[in-house]
């Protein structure tokens, strides 16, 4: 079975909601839509207090090339445009909408009918994706259109669809594949057309045999789409690791992934592309896995973007008494939050409610140089050495040992028997070293 070639770990999968169908979450009373839900410049609001909006109404326009449109996920009245405390605890501008009814823009096709043919050319597809505010919803939220328009000297050869879902607990992509296989296939074909390639691979880890089976069956009717079964290994969903696993090419340090000839898109993004291009539907809702060992009703919830996290936890049976940590995303790379009133955004793939007993870090002890972090690092780095270099402030060693290649997957901290928080140091040092490199480059340009 295929997999990536360097490092990796296999955490306990804990896919409590595997096979759970998609449940529709109820509408919030008030939706809070962040103006920055993507990598790049925040969108610029084009509505004002008191405006009436429908589901799908454009609320904010992309501000520059690396940015994305934002549409209203609910219908109702714009209550205010003001700061909100986001999940990280920062004040961020957002549009507050008091929900009234559920009226959709007439242009959106809400029927379940499958529309397989698409007559648009590549540029028209990309424009549509841009217009509908599609971003990579595997977690990184990079505007999709940017990835579909690589620099002119790099020609895409294949499309790789990321359906790996290697994070423990998360099952939102799995649920989507079981429910929307046909739509995903069409979405993949549209993406292939957009980047002008004839071959696409859908990489799925072996712990989703039903999804592999179903998509393999569907792929028979779609020329050039191949399902690749992958060995379960984290961080296979990392873009660089996935390209290595599927086509055996490694992105050189500092290079764009497309330099290998591969464009990677998440499977849920492919579905969003289908809805945007074929159904005129902007990115206004997504599947969120709400999970945790003590939740009464963990599940895969189809929820409008901008719902408070707390409301999704209510849908799943309410916050358990013994909750100690709430993570947005999966347990390996997700972010812990204290603010459960924060709104969800386009990138919210999961809400993980952890018991108090699993919430606390264990006191670190001295490094015993067991080399488990070196063996686990999927980028071939030396986490023990990098963290030590950062701890003593020696950024020259950190740079020489390529700290900037770190993808912050957490395999090192995960595998350290001394419970050293290697990634904490490396993340900090990486920021420092990147700053040093930028300053040096600016200096040489002068």
């Amino acid at each position: 079975m295929k997999t990536f070639r360097i490092g990796g770990v296999h955490p306990r999968e804990n896919k409590l909601t595997a096979g759970a169908p998609i449940t529709h979450a109820s509408l919030p009373k008030q939706a809070i839509i962040l103006l920055s839900q993507h990598i790049g410049a925040p969108a610029e609001a084009i509505v004002a207090k008191g405006d009436m909006v429908k589901v799908g109404t454009l609320l904010a326009k992309a501000n520059g090339f690396v940015s994305a449109n934002i549409h209203s996920p609910v219908s109702g009245k714009v209550a205010k445009i003001d700061n909100v405390t986001d999940a990280s605890g920062y004040q961020k501008p957002a549009i507050y909408i008091d929900v009234e009814g559920d009226t959709w823009e007439e242009s959106i096709d809400r029927s379940d009918a499958l529309i397989s043919s698409c007559n648009l050319d590549a540029q028209a597809i990309i424009n549509k994706i841009d217009q509908m505010g599609i971003v990579g919803i595997g977690g990184a939220t990079f505007p999709t259109k940017v990835k579909l328009m690589p620099p002119p000297n790099m020609k895409p050869e294949v499309l790789i669809i990321n359906a790996v879902e290697c994070e423990p607990y998360l099952t939102n992509d799995h649920a989507l594949m079981l429910a929307k296989a046909d739509e995903i296939m069409v979405g993949v074909e549209i993406l292939m057309k957009a980047i002008n390639v004839t071959q696409a691979y859908i990489g799925i880890e072996a712990n989703k045999p039903d999804a592999i089976e179903l998509l393999k069956h569907k792929a028979q009717e779609h020329k050039g789409i191949e399902i690749v079964r992958l060995q379960c290994r984290y961080p296979q969903g990392g873009e660089k690791q996935l390209i290595d696993a599927v086509i055996g090419r490694q992105v050189a340090s500092g290079a764009l992934p497309v330099s290998t000839g591969a464009v990677v898109q998440n499977v849920a993004t492919a579905y969003a592309v289908y809805e945007a291009v074929q159904k005129n539907k902007p990115l206004i809702e997504r599947i969120v896995t709400v999970t945790g060992k003590s939740l009464a009703r963990p599940g895969n919830y189809l929820a409008r973007i901008g719902m408070p996290v707390s409301q999704l936890i209510e849908e799943a049976g309410g916050l358990p008494e013994n909750t100690g940590k709430i993570v947005l995303g999966g347990p390996m790379m997700g972010r812990a939050t204290q603010n459960i009133e924060a709104p969800t955004s386009k990138g919210t793939s999961g809400i993980l409610v952890m018991d108090d007993s699993e919430a606390h870090r264990i006191e670190p002890s001295p490094c015993i140089r067991c080399a488990k972090c070196v063996a686990a690092c999927p980028m071939g780095l030396e986490p023990y050495l990098l963290s030590k270099a950062v701890a003593i402030g020696n950024y020259e060693i950190a740079e020489e040992r390529r700290i900037y290649d770190c993808i912050e997957c957490g395999c090192c901290s995960y595998s350290c028997p001394a419970h050293r928080q290697l990634l904490d140091y490396i993340r900090y040092g990486k920021g420092k070293v990147m700053g040093i490199i930028r300053a040096r480059n600016a200096e040489t340009k002068k």
Binding site: G248, T323, V327, A336, Q338, L352, A371, L381, P417, D424
Partner: protein
């Protein structure tokens, strides 16, 4: 409700702890310990118990009264040092010498460098070498193994290594390889049974406590190098000679349990292989042409000192520098 914890990712852990690694190695040493009890009786037990108790006590006293630190004796590493030191001693050694060895191992070998994780040399090995140089007679007086240790008193026998060193072809071809595999041979009591040590090795591999690189590279190098040196005396002799080099002396104990010590061995697979090959070469050189019959302790000790240099130059295979496949 409790306060929500906020910490950076990752939010889960493999569950493996330093203590588990240490106890895993101790479990892997149980077969060798049982064999030593069979062949050397109560003496083996006494030496081991003395060494372990002395190591724990010295570590505790040094941390508590000299350094004013929190004690780390619970992590199992002092116990492991105690057991490994004991396994490298003759069963008949006076117990006070064991205590001296433990003091050197823990005091100089480990705590003087800053305790667990900071020592350059394997503490148990430091203790053994110190004793070998300080008490050469007691350290090379080997009791003859006997079932349940009965009749051990006062008798000393030749070790397989000393026979190999003498180089008398007739004597060498008469050594029963099978006996050295089981452990019915003279030597430090933890090192005599090749089979018991290999069982321990398989356990360590199965539990992923160590990787194969260091033990296999040492063993392969010792075999091939010995073979190359003796091939002029004929195939048959060369094979017996090389086999005995592997199954005798502390080779397996050292290759599997001493050279693989986390703290003092290299961090990358390539570094581990280089380290193993060099240990193998130095071992054979000392065994065949040096003053001592056994060279493994010195070889590991020397390479412990080279480990930081190996770590500097033998970096892991970086992502993006691997050749394309497919």
């Amino acid at each position: 409700m409790n306060k929500l914890v906020v910490s950076p990712s990752p939010h889960v852990h493999s569950g493996l702890s330093t203590t588990q690694c240490m106890y895993g190695v101790l479990i892997a040493l149980i077969p060798a310990f049982l064999v030593s009890l069979y062949y050397f009786g109560i003496d083996a037990l006494l030496v081991t118990a003395t060494s372990v108790v002395a190591c724990i006590t010295f570590e505790y006293l040094i941390q508590r009264y000299l350094l004013g630190q929190r004690s780390t004796i619970g992590d199992g590493s002092a116990i492991l040092t105690g057991v490994l030191l004991a396994f490298n001693l003759p069963a008949s050694i006076p117990l006070w010498i064991v205590v001296v060895g433990a003091l050197f191992a823990i005091g100089i070998g480990k705590m003087a460098f800053g305790g667990i994780g900071n020592n350059i040399f394997n503490p148990a090995l430091a203790g053994r070498i110190f004793l070998l140089i300080s008490f050469p007679q007691q350290m090379t007086t080997w009791p003859i193994p006997a079932p349940w240790g009965i009749g051990v008193d006062g008798q000393t026998g030749a070790t397989t290594l000393s026979i190999l060193k003498r180089g008398n072809v007739e004597e060498i071809v008469n050594i029963d390889v099978l006996e050295t595999l089981v452990g019915n041979a003279g030597g430090s009591f933890g090192e005599v049974s090749a089979i018991a040590l290999i069982i321990g090795f398989l356990y360590l591999l199965w539990k992923k406590i160590i990787t194969w690189h260091i033990p296999v590279s040492i063993i392969a190098t010792v075999f091939l190098f010995s073979f190359a040196v003796t091939i002029s005396q004929g195939w048959e002799y060369a094979i017996i000679f090389s086999e005995l080099q592997i199954f005798s002396g502390g080779l397996l104990l050292g290759a599997i349990f001493m050279a693989t010590d986390y703290v003092t061995s290299p961090m990358t697979p390539g570094g581990m292989l280089l380290y193993g090959v060099l240990i193998g070469i130095i071992t054979v050189v000392i065994r065949l042409w040096g003053a001592y019959p056994e060279g493994l302790s010195f070889a590991i000790f020397i390479m412990n000192g080279v480990t930081p240099l190996i770590n500097k130059y033998m970096t892991p295979k970086r992502f993006g520098e691997v050749k394309r496949h497919g």
